[in-house]
């Protein structure tokens, strides 16, 4: 075992785990943030998606020892800074989730997409979101919710009524 100092959702945490333990299991079982999910263990389904310095990353194949102590780890619990992120709000408005199990990963991918591309086309959404599987089949609503969130963010940045 070894001690690792991590920054998770802007908080410093110290964990004593094996260096090869994937960040997924560190975050879930040692930091007690269960929103990040296990689906395949092979980076095939995206349920474990988190952000490392804002970049969407599959945590199931990211050993804790590969993450620097200043790297900002963000999970679904930290994405809204205590409020709901516009993406989460759009997910509620469009009633995206069915079982919801994959949605943490979907939302983490969608948040990263909008950060790098505030006005994504359907094709942009296709390429950013196709690493996240949903067995319930909520893809059509995911597309709609991302467009809705993009519009919401634009309106709030412009300020309503300013035009």
């Amino acid at each position: 075992m070894a001690i690792f100092n991590l920054t998770v959702n802007n908080k410093k945490v110290k964990v004593d785990v094996e260096p090869d333990m994937p960040l997924l299991w560190v975050v879930r079982d040692f930091v007690d943030l269960k929103g990040t999910k296990f689906g395949c263990g092979m980076t095939l389904c995206g349920a474990c998606t988190i952000h490392l310095d804002g970049q969407p990353t599959r945590s199931c194949q990211t050993p804790v020892s590969s993450v620097g102590k200043n790297t900002k780890i963000t999970t679904i619990e930290g994405i809204g800074n205590g409020k709901l992120h516009a993406i989460q709000q759009a997910w509620i408005e469009e009633q995206v989730p069915q079982c919801g199990y994959c949605q943490s990963g979907q939302i983490m991918s969608a948040v990263a997409l909008l950060k790098s591309n505030p006005s994504p086309s359907d094709q942009d959404i296709d390429s950013a979101m196709s690493g996240n599987l949903c067995r319930c089949g909520t893809y059509d609503r995911i597309r709609k919710a991302i467009h809705r969130a993009a519009d919401t963010i634009k309106v709030s940045e412009k300020g309503i009524g300013k035009n």
């Binding site: 929103g35 349920a47 619990e77 919801g100 939302i107 949903c134 089949g137």
Partner: protein, 720 residues
């Protein structure tokens, strides 16, 4: 699981409605009324098993159907809240625990709303009448002057009101009304209206608790090495390397209990699951695979099924002398259709936490579809009485039938009993895909003929393994499996073949474990039925929509088809290379029809659009009907064009999502859903949208390319 010798419908009736009647039987309400003092000031009153009102005014509704994403957390409590005159925002919803008083608690067969439609509304109406009577007595006014509104009883002439909490104590002492009056559907405020699901916010912020998220004090973790050939025996275990892994506590020989077999397995127990998984990978186990290299093979299974195709099966129904008429017919067709074995592959893999305690009690936390069944299975397995077992049903991260099969739960029971500790078992994706149970692969052998330009004869010979047989040991050797035969019968599809028709069955057995998979046999046999109707329509020189409209003798079917024709602009000119296909199928008392448009591209096609129409009778939330139908489009297309499960030399050929692909967002076509409001009794919502998807696609491919596809899955980029 129980030994059941009944049709599925009877089965739902006996284990569901009858016991439900007992739990809710009007006379038993009073006996069931329970008064619990949770602190000296607040008294908790159970007006009936589904409604708990405390004197502080808190109202709890018990949802007896686990939520795997199909929306039962909203749907079932809505039935009760509608009659109780309260909004779901005002109540707390908890999940039932499997105990008898809640009746049938299994989410399956798209049964929640259609089986609870009346009894749960009656439970709500009875409580409303008791509260109203209590208020009238308190005010000493006629009951007729009082009515329920938003959690209060209002006295109309004076406008004064009392909350349900203030009345609960009095109400719980009253006789249960024998025939509580249900609301007129035109007065519904919740049922049939768009309402956001209140469980969605926790499903987007990481707070929702699925089975895999449960931690209990003192818990250890297990990863289990299952037999690669499903039913092998452990000859020897070398755990030296596994035990060197930090965190590994123990290696235990264990067992996987399935309804038809118990298989040996080896569990690695550790202080955390990652260590348990590493330990499992480091195990060296010798297995005696007996003959399974030879007998467990999907190729062999399908060879047997196709060999049975042309032989006589066991008749389920016959009209006219089909064989004689077929033999003498001039214009006739014969074809075999095939559907593969499929894994459910919910993104949350199978998992459970079980604590077999030293005092003889058992506590369970698990994502299971049926706590009532699970309770029976656990009691039988551990030989404990039901009152000693407490089941906490968590949210389910998808299930689709898989989590009504309790092998993973009984593994956790076995390990906790052996270790005398709470144990959390988590399956890997590889466990999930290589071990099953699966949707059975099936063959439909079809025959039909045309007379005077009309489809006049039809025979569906269904061939394969039976869930009733393998899982429930309830199939008689001389009977056509009633569960599946009914689904493909002319009584169900409402096709009237003028001269002769027949539905028959041949059982081909396999040791590959099988169970229900979303829409069950309808997902298999919709393919053969609806593609072959298309073939016969073309043989008769008829438009496939027109041919179905002529054959189908049922107004609801006709309305669904008419709606589909209108919404899909059926009959309008298509672009070069485009083709449209339709299919219609009734399952779980709902009728669903789909039109798919494809465009020819190189050696294959692209899927342009999917339009589905559903008549599910009364429904709770139109948005959820649409959501479930969207989900069925994606799952139906996945089943049609992605991977099947195959076994070669006793071992599953697929192991994870790279070999068992699930449709991704970029592959998802545009889709539109339309609901036909028939006002019929509620049908299912979670499954009926799936069966028409694959045949609509097959028929569209034929329309665009002239190629008739008969074996799933299809490679739509390279159509042979």
């Amino acid at each position: 699981m129980e030994n059941i010798k009944a049709t599925r419908r009877d089965f739902l009736k006996t284990t569901g409605l009858t016991s439900f009647g007992l739990a809710l039987g009007i006379s038993s309400f009073a006996k069931d009324a329970v008064v619990k003092k949770i602190n000296p000031a607040i008294i908790k009153l159970e007006i009936n098993p589904f409604i708990i009102i405390d004197t502080a005014g808190n109202i709890t509704i018990v949802n007896p159907r686990p939520d795997m994403g199909q929306g039962s957390t909203q749907a079932v409590p809505s039935l009760l809240a509608e009659e109780l005159e309260i909004s779901l925002e005002q109540v707390k919803i908890v999940q039932s625990d499997g105990k008898d008083k809640y009746g049938n608690q299994t989410s399956g067969g798209s049964s929640s709303v259609r089986s609870l439609w009346e009894p749960i509304r009656k439970a709500g109406a009875a409580a409303r009448e008791m509260l109203t009577e209590s208020a009238a007595k308190r005010w000493n006014v006629p009951v007729i002057e009082c009515y329920a509104k938003d959690g209060t009883i209002v006295h109309k002439p004076t406008g004064r009101s009392l909350s349900y909490g203030e009345l609960a104590d009095d109400a719980s002492k009253l006789e249960i009304p024998k025939n509580p009056k249900l609301k007129d559907p035109k007065d519904f405020k919740i049922i049939g209206k768009y309402n956001k699901r209140l469980d969605v916010p926790e499903r987007v912020n990481g707070k929702a608790v699925y089975g895999i998220d449960v931690d209990v004090p003192g818990m250890v973790y297990a990863s289990i090495l299952h037999s690669p050939s499903l039913h092998g025996k452990v000859v020897s275990i070398d755990d030296a390397e596994a035990k060197k892994i930090k965190g590994v506590l123990k290696v235990v020989k264990t067992e996987r209990t399935m309804p038809h077999r118990t298989s040996e397995a080896v569990a690695v127990i550790a202080t955390n699951w990652w260590a348990a998984l590493k330990g499992k990978k480091a195990l060296k186990v010798n297995w005696d695979n007996a003959d399974y290299e030879k007998t467990l093979s999907t190729e062999k299974y399908f060879a047997e099924a196709h060999a049975a195709a042309t032989k006589e099966g066991i008749n389920f129904e016959e009209k006219g002398d089909f064989s004689a008429k077929y033999n003498s017919a001039g214009k006739k067709l014969e074809a075999s259709y095939e559907t593969p074995f499929l894994a459910h592959a919910p993104i949350e893999p199978e998992n459970a936490v079980v604590h077999v305690k030293e005092d003889g009690t058992v506590e369970i936390w698990a994502p299971i579809q049926g706590p009532d069944w699970a309770l029976r299975d656990v009691c039988a397995y551990l030989k404990v009485a039901p009152e000693k077992v407490k089941i906490n049903v968590t949210l389910l991260g998808g299930a689709f039938g898989r989590k009504a099969y309790h092998d993973f739960l009984l593994e956790a029971c076995h390990l906790s009993r052996e270790l005398k500790k709470p144990v959390k078992v988590i399956w890997t994706r590889e466990d999930d895909i290589t071990q099953g149970p699966y949707r059975p692969g099936m063959v439909s052998h079809m025959q039909g003929f045309v007379e005077n330009g009309a489809i006049a004869g039809y025979h569906h010979h269904a061939i394969g393994e039976s869930i009733l047989g393998q899982v429930f040991k309830g199939l008689k050797s001389d009977e056509a499996d009633p569960w599946l035969s009914e689904e493909i019968s002319t009584n169900n599809n409402k096709y009237n073949f003028a001269t002769a028709s027949k539905v028959s069955w041949t059982n081909v057995k396999t040791d590959i474990p099988i169970v229900w998979w979303r829409s069950v046999y309808a997902s298999n046999f919709g393919w053969g039925q609806e593609c072959f109707i298309d073939e016969l329509a073309h043989l008769a020189g008829k438009d496939p929509m027109k041919a179905r409209m002529e054959l189908v003798k049922d107004d609801r079917f006709k309305k669904v088809l008419e709606t589909l024709a209108e919404k899909s602009a059926w009959g309008e000119k298509l672009a070069e290379g485009q083709g449209k296909g339709i299919a219609v199928f009734k399952s779980f008392d709902s009728i669903s029809a789909t039109c798919i448009t494809v465009t020819k591209k190189d050696q294959g096609v692209t899927i342009d659009k999917v339009i589905s129409v559903i008549d599910c009778g009364y429904y709770v939330n139109p948005d959820n009907v649409k959501a479930q139908t969207e989900g069925n489009i994606v799952m139906g297309l996945t089943a049609a064009i992605k991977d099947g499960i195959t076994f070669t030399n006793g071992v599953c050929d697929q192991s994870n999502y790279h070999q068992y692909n699930i449709m991704r967002l970029n592959e998802t076509p545009k889709m539109e859903i339309y609901i036909v409001d028939s006002g019929a009794n509620p049908g299912g919502v979670g499954e009926p949208g799936l069966p028409p998807i694959a045949p609509a696609l097959g028929n569209a491919i034929f329309a665009a390319t002239g190629k008739r596809m008969r074996k799933l899955p299809l490679d739509i980029n390279n159509l042979a």
